[in-house]
Every structure is written in structure tokens, then in C-alpha cells.
């Protein structure tokens, strides 16, 4: 019996193309979802307009006009944090006398890549320095820490596509080890022309709606958004009599050490990450209700994941939710963790949007219908550029 303190998930905030809050997102992914569209905030001169999952135009930050002193990524992170805190029944005042940490994953949110600024600089003009100050003001963990006056550990994780999963795993260890009473953990990222062009140049984007694990899959669609989980010591949660949405049981991560962009064909890093996470919470395959896979829709990723899931977790139902949200990069692991908690609460997982035809080369396939799931725990996993692999394991909040 694991005697280390339990980490409760007491609140969740989430926003992405599927919805402006957690409830709207879940309605979308258990309903018809939405389709990606050509980007509206920027244009490109590619022959094809690769579609993306944009957060809807009517976005507003707490009803106020958007703060243009910070990047959209920071605003997404703050909006999701406010929803998560409300869901956890925690006010700003409640945070002041507690040891509160922040751990947020991102990619674009930490990048100084403003094209207008750089274009003007290259032309020898006198660009407005606001683009630079905006970048300097937008580090997601720092923004949240400053907004709430937090003095605990503060960390922005930039592990590419596994950042959100890593941030939640790392944040949970701060609660488990007693350093923090509460950790605001998650991820945020915005769509941006630079990453759009970057992924297209790698020839791993789909010209139409992505098809995770499908025989006809061609690549991913980019997306954007944020999700934050309030991780809290179970003790504190019980004392303030707030229900737990889930418990955060285990985290594992490992590097393939193989290639800058391609996953190791043998899935060695992912296998090690899953094994570590399961061992950390003393759970076995039989306990796993389902897996929220990374499932980007690229030929390589889905092949590796299918093989690993078939080998380590044979027969365990899995899904990809990227057909509902796109690949939200630094936010992906967090948004998918949020969905994992909600699906565990509901005892069912939706179909994987975009998946229709089984790929005969793959040994395992995602669910094709809404599927009831039983089992004490669920896994959410991510694979990243640079060979990072991360897995987090959630258990049910109620006994």
C-alpha cells in the first residue's frame, strides 16, 4: 500500500476549439465535435490552406477586452486557471496563506518569433519594441504566479509536445513531497504562423481533418488552447470539504535518445514512461480503464503508439481526442489530462474523431464508438519532438 500523500485533482479549467470551458469541451467531444478550418488570424502562401483548430473568435478574457500586453498563450493560461480555481472552490484569498506552486507547459508561449518585428528589423526599419516586451511579459508560469502573488515553485516546461503532461506530472510531485499545498499545473499554446509553417515544412500536416490511427492518415492539424488542473493535497481537500474530481497517481517520463523529430520505432521511451508511471502508483494493466493516446494522426506517431499500447496494455480501450482539438502542442498533454479525468468521472470514452478505417499494419486500434469503461485508473500520454515521452495516471476521485 502506497503510504505517500495522495494528490487530489480538485478543479479543472479547459479551453480550446472544442469549447470555451470544460463543460463545453466535453459536450463537443461527446457530441459531433467540430471541424478544423483554414486559419483566420494569419495567412500563408502555401498552395493548400492546411486547416487548424482555432479558439473561436468571440474569445474574451473574463468578459474584458483582450490584454494585448501579453501573448494570447498567457491569456489562455489565465482564463483556464480562473475556471479551474472556481471549479476547485478556491478564491484568490484562499491561495495567499498556502504554499502554491505553478507548473505550466508551452512552446509558442516562450518563443520570441514575432514576424512583423523581425521583418521590420531585417529591413533596417525602426520596429515598435512592443513585440519584445510582450514576449518578456508572457512567460505562462510567471504570468500566473504574478497574477495571484504566488511564492512557491514556478516552472515553465518547454518540452515540446509533452510539456502539458510533464507539467502535471512534475506539479503533482511537489504536492506529494509536501513542498506545496496546491499546484496549478497544465499547459497553454496559441496558433502561430511560425509553427504552422514549421510543421508543414516537416510534411506531417493533413490538408483535411486529421485521422488518428486511421489507415488513410496523412498528418496532424494544429490547434490551440489551454487546460489547468488544480492539484491539491488530499488532506487539504478533505479539510475544506471539497470533492475530488480525481486523484493524480503516477507520472513517468523517458527520452528515446533517437532522433530530433521522429519517435524511436521500438517505442522504447514511451514504454519506459508508461512502466514508470504504473510502478509509481503500484497499478497494473488490469487496473487501466482506458488510455488517452497522443494520437496526432501522423503515420509515424500512431504506428509507434499502436505497437506500444498493444504490447504493454493489450485489450485496454484507447482513444485520441486530437480529432476534436487538433494538436495543441504545449497545451495538448494538459487538455488531454482534463478529458481523461472527465471520462473517468463519466465511466465512458467518446469515439476518436477522424478515425474510421482500421490500418491493417497497426496491431491495435482506438474505439470506434462511445465505449463504457471500467477500471480504477486511466492513462494520458504524450510523445514529443526531441524524443520526450510522458505518461500520467489518474484514479477516480470518489471511492
Amino acid at each position: 500500500m502506497n503510504s505517500t500523500p495522495t494528490v487530489a485533482v480538485s478543479g479543472i479549467g479547459c479551453l480550446c476549439a472544442a469549447g470555451m470551458n470544460m463543460q463545453a469541451c466535453m459536450q463537443s467531444i461527446t457530441g459531433n465535435g467540430c471541424a478544423p478550418q483554414p486559419p483566420t488570424r494569419f495567412s500563408s502562401d502555401h498552395a493548400v490552406a492546411y486547416p487548424v483548430f482555432e479558439v473561436p473568435q468571440q474569445y474574451s478574457f473574463g468578459g474584458a477586452a483582450r490584454n494585448s500586453d501579453t501573448l494570447l498563450t498567457a491569456d489562455f493560461a489565465l482564463t483556464a486557471t480562473l475556471e479551474a480555481l472556481a471549479d476547485a472552490g478556491l478564491s484568490r484569498a484562499d491561495l495567499q496563506d498556502k504554499r502554491v506552486g505553478v507548473c505550466i507547459g508551452t512552446t509558442v508561449g516562450s518563443a520570441m518569433n514575432n514576424e512583423d518585428f523581425y521583418w521590420q528589423y531585417r529591413q533596417g526599419r525602426h520596429p515598435d519594441m512592443k513585440a519584445v516586451t510582450r514576449f518578456l511579459n508572457s512567460n505562462p508560469a510567471q504570468v500566473i504566479g504574478q497574477e495571484f502573488g504566488l511564492t512557491g515553485p514556478c516552472q515553465t516546461v518547454v518540452n515540446a509536445c509533452s510539456s502539458g503532461t510533464d507539467a502535471i506530472g512534475l506539479g503533482s510531485s511537489w504536492v506529494r513531497s509536501g513542498i506545496c499545498d496546491i499546484v496549478l499545473a497544465g499547459g497553454a499554446d496559441e496558433l502561430c504562423r511560425v509553427t504552422y509553417n514549421g510543421f508543414i515544412s516537416l510534411m506531417i500536416t493533413d490538408e483535411s481533418h486529421c485521422k488518428p490511427f486511421d489507415a488513410e492518415r496523412k498528418g496532424l492539424n494544429l490547434g490551440e488552447g489551454a487546460a489547468i488542473l488544480v492539484l491539491e493535497s488530499d488532506d487539504l481537500c478533505r479539510r475544506r470539504q471539497h470533492p475530488r474530481r480525481a486523484v493524480m497517481l503516477g507520472y513517468g517520463s523517458a527520452c528515446d535518445a533517437y532522433h530530433l523529430t521522429a519517435p524511436a520505432p521500438d517505442g522504447r521511451g514511451l514504454k519506459a514512461a508508461i512502466a514508470t508511471a504504473l510502478a509509481a502508483c503500484e497499478k497494473s494493466v488490469d487496473d487501466v480503464a482506458f488510455v488517452n493516446a497522443h494520437g496526432t494522426g501522423t503515420p509515424n506517431n500512431d504506428r509507434v503508439e499502436s505497437r506500444v499500447l498493444n504490447e504493454l496494455l493489450p485489450g485496454v480501450p484507447f482513444l485520441s481526442t486530437k480529432g476534436y482539438t487538433g494538436h495543441t502542442l504545449g497545451a495538448a498533454g494538459a487538455i488531454e489530462a482534463a478529458f481523461t479525468v472527465a471520462c473517468l468521472e463519466e465511466g465512458k470514452i467518446p469515439t476518436s474523431a477522424g478515425f474510421a478505417n482500421k490500418d491493417r499494419e497497426l496491431p491495435a486500434h482506438p474505439v470506434q464508438h462511445e465505449t463504457a469503461v471500467s477500471g480504477a485508473v486511466a492513462i494520458s500520454q504524450s510523445l514529443a519532438f526531441g524524443g520526450n515521452n510522458a505518461a500520467v495516471i489518474f484514479g477516480k476521485g470518489t471511492h
Binding site: S201, L202, M203, H259, A262
Partner: protein, 84 residues
């Protein structure tokens, strides 16, 4: 300079294979796997270089697999597309 020679120089310079000379690249040797031992990231980079320096588009890696068999194969691919 022949097309094949241009291709070899482009590959060496753009993929930073500084210890290799054009003369050392066999026109029929595989570019990927054995031979020059290029990889998937080199492949997508070459697609961009072929577009940039020779004005020819490689639509996907199905076409890429055919075009990148060897220097000769790539040369033929480019000539065919340029003539079209």
C-alpha cells in the same frame, strides 16, 4: 555544371555534409539508409531545397521515396517535372 553535379553540391552544402566531396557521391548509390545514410529530417529538408533551387515540388513522401533513390533518380525526377 551538370544537373547531377549541382545536386551533389546542394546536398553537401544544405545538409552540412562537410567532410564529403561531390566526387565521393556515386550517382547510383542510395541517398538514404546505406550510401549517404541520410534520414527522415534530411528528406524533408531536401524537398525544400529541391523547391528552392530547382523550382520542383515534391508533393509527399511517396513521391519523395521515388525521387530520392539516388542522385540519378533525383536528376531524372527534376528534369521530368521541369519539362512539364
Amino acid at each position: 555544371m551538370t544537373l547531377n553535379e549541382k545536386l551533389k553540391i546542394t546536398i553537401i552544402e544544405e545538409l552540412n555534409l562537410e567532410e564529403i566531396t561531390p566526387e565521393e557521391i556515386d550517382d547510383d548509390a542510395p541517398l538514404f539508409g546505406d550510401g549517404l545514410a541520410l534520414d527522415s529530417l534530411d528528406a524533408v529538408e531536401l524537398v525544400v531545397q529541391v523547391q528552392k533551387y530547382f523550382g520542383v515540388e515534391i508533393k509527399d513522401m511517396e513521391e519523395g521515396r521515388v525521387a530520392f533513390q539516388s542522385i540519378n533518380a533525383l536528376g531524372h525526377f527534376i528534369e521530368e517535372r521541369q519539362a512539364a
